[in-house]
């Protein structure tokens, strides 16, 4: 109670714990989650988030007030990611620290499922991976996903369908293991 209000240095102030922050800030955790799922490597994922935020800051005047800020930020992240893929910065998916650190599944079976999934995700084409993550992980609607990726909803559905079936095949162990692409 007594410290209900306090100033934060040069940034804004807090009223009853509700900090006045930049509007992007509340979306950063989800941007990070998506970036990590996309790239599977923490430093690179945060690089992507940082590039996205910097781009978004430069373009913020173009943001139409009242529209969906989260979808707008995801769209910028998508464009940043695509540019990086094109320029070769995100071609390879090096094995990661991530499977070691997170999370601690309850059973060995779960653990296998999760590891399988990670391996399978890695083998999806980037555009399929993006769709399955935006829908399945970020739980964006199909329409939002279409806007983020700047493709028709029909394209979202067909990519989603292919991605899910490919994951299912990969995870059921039907295919012979492929070598990981490194560098």
């Amino acid at each position: 109670m007594p410290s209900a209000i306090r100033l934060t240095a040069g940034h804004g102030c807090i009223v009853k714990g509700a900090m006045t922050t930049h509007p992007f800030e509340e979306h950063i955790p989800r941007l990070r989650r998506y970036a990590l799922a996309l790239l599977r490597e923490r430093t690179r994922a945060d690089d992507l988030v940082q590039d996205t935020l910097e781009r978004a800051l430069r373009k913020f005047t173009l943001f139409r007030h009242g529209s969906n800020l989260r979808a707008w930020l995801f769209a910028i992240m998508h464009n940043t990611f695509v540019n990086q893929v094109r320029s070769g910065r995100q071609q390879q998916f090096v094995d990661t620290e991530y499977d070691d650190s997170e999370p601690s599944p309850d059973t060995a079976e779960d653990s296998t499922t999760l590891r399988d999934l990670l391996g399978a995700l890695e083998r999806l084409a980037p555009e399929q991976r993006e769709v399955i993550l935006l829908v399945g992980l970020e739980q964006l609607s199909y329409e939002e996903t279409a806007r983020v990726l700047e493709v028709p909803v029909g394209t979202v559905m067909s990519r989603l369908s292919r991605a899910r079936e490919r994951l299912r095949t990969l995870m059921s162990g039907d295919t012979t293991p492929q070598l990981r692409r490194i560098k």
Binding site: C13, V15, T20, P29, F63, L117, I132, L133, V135
Partner: protein
């Protein structure tokens, strides 16, 4: 009566898994799945994929944010963004008395910005008044507070700003956006005046952090708390207004 044969598209199965199928269709799809075990197995696998993705990556949401991601935001040229939004919301148009939020982003709801504007106008008009700066003077302080509390339908208080050199000299009833508003006026030994404007915002207006506006020497600090909108207006600079706002906040909270 024979059941109408139904067909279910692949897109509908995905929508079913993702919770994006219209509620009216869910029962039909479930009935269809009961008779199509292959499709049921596929949808179950998709569900598992979603759950696994979330199990894998949700922990990221609870991690503290790295400074390198938040630092650029506090250094950002926020003024430009806020200015653009402010222009869109057209809350600068009336008289242009108020500038744009300098710090503490969050685009203020139009209603709250308008409250600040009304408070600023009321300050400029009445603080300059020599003969009748207030409607009810300090001699009738308890009457003043009771009267304004009754008119606003809220329990009002007069914060004690004497440690900053400002003494209450009285107050008045003003027209607010949706009903009456109250203005309490304070004055320091040099004759400088400070006003606290209180109004009742629309129902369910959430509390806000402090926001600051400034133009032509009038500084306004405003916020919403406990179903009341507050605006402090006067000459003091931002930091001093914040100190005064602490006092006002506490007067209404403790």
């Amino acid at each position: 009566m024979t059941a109408k044969p139904i067909t279910v598209t692949d897109a509908e199965l995905h929508a079913y898994v993702d919770g994006q199928l219209p509620a009216t269709r869910v029962t039909e799809v479930e009935a269809w799945l009961a008779e199509h075990p292959d499709a049921a197995a596929r949808t179950q696998a998709w569900r598992t994929q979603n759950a696994a993705l979330q199990a894998l990556f949700d922990p990221v949401l609870d991690e503290p944010l790295p400074a390198r991601l938040t630092a650029p935001l506090s250094r950002s040229p926020i003024h430009r963004g806020v200015r653009a939004i402010a222009a869109t919301a057209a809350w600068l148009t009336v008289g242009g008395l108020l500038g744009y939020a300098l710090h503490g982003w969050q685009n203020p709801p139009v209603e709250i910005a308008q409250m600040a504007e009304r408070a600023a106008v009321a300050h400029v008009v009445y603080a300059a008044e020599v003969l009748h700066p207030v409607e009810v003077t300090i001699e009738q302080e308890s009457h003043l507070v009771q009267w304004l509390s009754k008119r606003l339908g809220r329990e009002l208080h007069t914060p004690d700003f004497s440690s900053f050199g400002y003494q209450l000299i009285g107050g008045r009833l003003l027209p607010g956006d949706k009903g009456p508003a109250a203005q309490f006026m304070y004055q320091n030994p040099h004759g400088a005046r400070l006003t606290l404007y209180v109004s009742v915002p629309g129902k369910d207006t959430p509390p806000t952090a402090f926001r600051y506006e400034e133009e032509n020497g009038t500084h306004v600090l405003y916020w919403v708390d406990r179903d009341l909108g507050f605006a402090l207006a006067g000459e003091p600079e931002r930091a001093r207004l914040l100190d005064l706002a602490h006092v006002a906040y506490q007067a209404f909270n403790f």
